[in-house]
Structures are given as C-alpha cells and as structure tokens.
Symmetry: C2
Subunit: 204 residues, 2 copies
C-alpha cells in the first residue's frame, strides 16, 4: 500500500561510517549524515528514532565483517582464542575513528554477540565451566576493549609517550625509564603479550 522505502538501514549506516572515516567521529551528526545522503536532516528520523540508534547501526556495520566462525579445532585452544581476539581487533581498528563507538556499543551488535558465543565455545572445549567461564569471558572482554582503547586513544598513543618521558626523573624514576623502554615494544607485541599473560593465567 504505502510508498516504498527509499533507504535501507545498511545504506544509512554506510553513509554515517563514510562521514566518520572521512571527517572523524566528531563530525558525525544527523545533519552531516543527511547531507551525505542528499536528504534533509529530519529525513533520517524515519529510519532511526535517535542518534543513538544510528550509532548502533554504524557499529553493526563495523562488526559486520567480523569473522565469528570457530577457528580450526585442531589448534590449541589458547591459539584459537588469540585468533578470535585478533579478528576482533582487526575489525575494530579497520575504522580507527569509530573505535570509541564500536567499543561502547559492541554488546548490542549481532557481530559482537556471535563473537562472544564462539569464544565461550572455545573456553568450554578447554574445560572451563561455570563461574570460571563467566570470569574468563569478562576478563577477556575487559582486557581486549581496554587494551584497544589504550592503544588508540590512550596516553602511549601519540603525544602521551613524550609527555611521560618529560616527567621529572627524580619523582617518577620507573615511569620515565619505562617510557624509554616502551619505544622498543611494538603494538602487536604489547597487545598479544598482555593477552598471553591472561591466557596463561587461565590454566590449572
């Protein structure tokens, strides 16, 4: 009966993501997305009820190309978890300007839920059950999101390291020394190094 809808939620998400990728997260607004689509600002409200909902669509899209199929079962379970974590990190980092959005809305996106489901399966196969599994999943979530945030929005990314290196050495001997050493450690080594600490602790 009605006039057909001229936009899909996915096209809307694509437009929003284009704005973010091009002009940064701060540039995201109902108005800029509407401009991107060549329609009037208020037009968006027929597809989302809210800016929040639009953000949700963006996250759906970012996590849409997150591979959540279980990795080859013959690999050790810790390697499989690393694979899953690496996939998540890759998908998130592929849109650096959207990281904040992705991490805060991750739990509402289908992709994020499927990811958790797969990880829980691996943990189960590793013999981790009950409350131990709950704690393990949450610890992984906490570490992964925290570490990604740290890597891309935190103090050691960009200007932060030099600021720390400039601290008074007598009051912050360890911190200044550590900042110097930090230069030798690449992002991947740091990220997966920390993850392996956590995975090692999951044993026994």
């Amino acid at each position: 009966m009605p006039r057909p809808r001229s936009l899909t939620p996915d096209r809307l998400a694509a437009a929003a993501l284009a704005v973010i990728d091009r002009d940064g997260l701060a540039a995201l607004s109902m108005r800029t997305v509407a401009r991107e689509l060549g329609m009037s600002p208020m037009g968006l409200y027929r597809y989302v009820s809210d800016r929040e909902e639009l953000e949700g669509l963006v996250v759906d899209r970012v996590l849409g190309d997150l591979d959540t199929t279980p990795p080859a079962a013959d690999a050790p379970w810790r390697d499989r978890i690393e694979t899953m974590v690496g996939r998540l990190r890759d998908a998130v980092v592929r849109h650096p300007e959207a990281i904040q959005l992705t991490l805060t809305h991750r739990h509402r996106a289908p992709g994020g839920l499927l990811w958790s489901e797969t990880v829980l399966g691996i943990l189960a196969e590793a013999g981790i059950d009950g409350t131990r599994r709950v704690v393990a999943l949450r610890a992984l979530h906490g570490y992964v999101t925290g570490a990604i945030r740290l890597e891309h929005l935190g103090p050691l990314a960009g200007t932060g390291t030099s600021a720390i290196a400039a601290l008074p050495e007598d009051r912050f001997p360890y911190l200044t020394q550590t900042a110097r050493t930090a230069g030798e450690v690449g992002p991947d080594q740091e990220f997966f190094g920390g993850l392996r600490l956590l995975l090692r602790g999951l044993d026994g």
Copy 2:
C-alpha cells in the same frame, strides 16, 4: 598589581564534579558549571581555556583522593598490586557518573601517574624488568580500565544481562547459559577474579 583571583582551579573542579554527581555527566557544560558557581558562563574561560581542560581538572580531583603510597612491603607482590588496583577502582567508582571522564583522562592526572609509578615499583621488586615490565603495566592498565568500564557502562550492567538472557537459545547456547550463571558472580569476585588471572600469568 592585579585584582586577586576569586576562584581556585580546585573550586572550579569541585563545582563541575558537583554538577556531574547530581545531574549526570550529560549535564556537564560550561553553562551549568557557571550557574553552579553563580557566575556568567564566559567567566570560566579565565580559569580554563577549554572545556577539555575543565574535564582535566575534574579528573585531577577525582584521582586526588587516590592513595598512591606503596602498600606494606612484607605482603606478596601480587597482593600489593591487588591493593593498588583496588584503590584505583574505589577512587574511580566513588563518582560513578564521572567514570567515563576519569578513565579517558586518567593518564594526564598527577594521581594517575603516581599510581603507575608505584605499580611499576612493585613489578620491579617482583623481578619483572625491561619489556616484560612494559607489557605488564600496559596489560594491567588495559584490564583495569576495561573491566571498570564493563562493570559500570557495559552490557552486563543494568539492562544488558536481561537482553542477553532473552537471546534465542538455539543460536546462542553458551551465551544464554553464561548469562544465567553470571547472576551468581558478584562484581568484586568478577573483577578481582579476572585480575588474578592476569597476575597469575605474570609469573615465571
């Protein structure tokens, strides 16, 4: 020569924090803080150059009552780290509405730096050096900030758990089951349980 300043940065931070604690983070604006202080909106700009700088002052204040003195040296080093992490968590959570602010600006506040310094000292005493220490500190940062965020802003806080429990059980068998088990795990058990996984992995 000049007329004396009528405000201290700390009073400004206190006013901003009062607004946040009372009306939530979304209510924080130059205008509301000015109202809180009974002055005109533009008056604030003689004390801060920026909203960002005001947020920094707030974080300074929140982390101001964070105890960064090294814990009693006779305790095992892992317990001492737990103490430090617990103190940070307590200080951050004392102003729940400001958590987002506190965690994102933590690295610029003196309290946050002192905390890192103390933690690095403990790690050093535990014989952890060089790149291993860098990785350890970053992993701790990542986990702690991620876990606090998860606990207070994430999916399992508030409405999230029930949303997960309502997922189709055939597509998310592990997730729905885990959500049920999650009810039995208290926040502290979860937080420190995850932390202990990490600390256990730091050995050897």
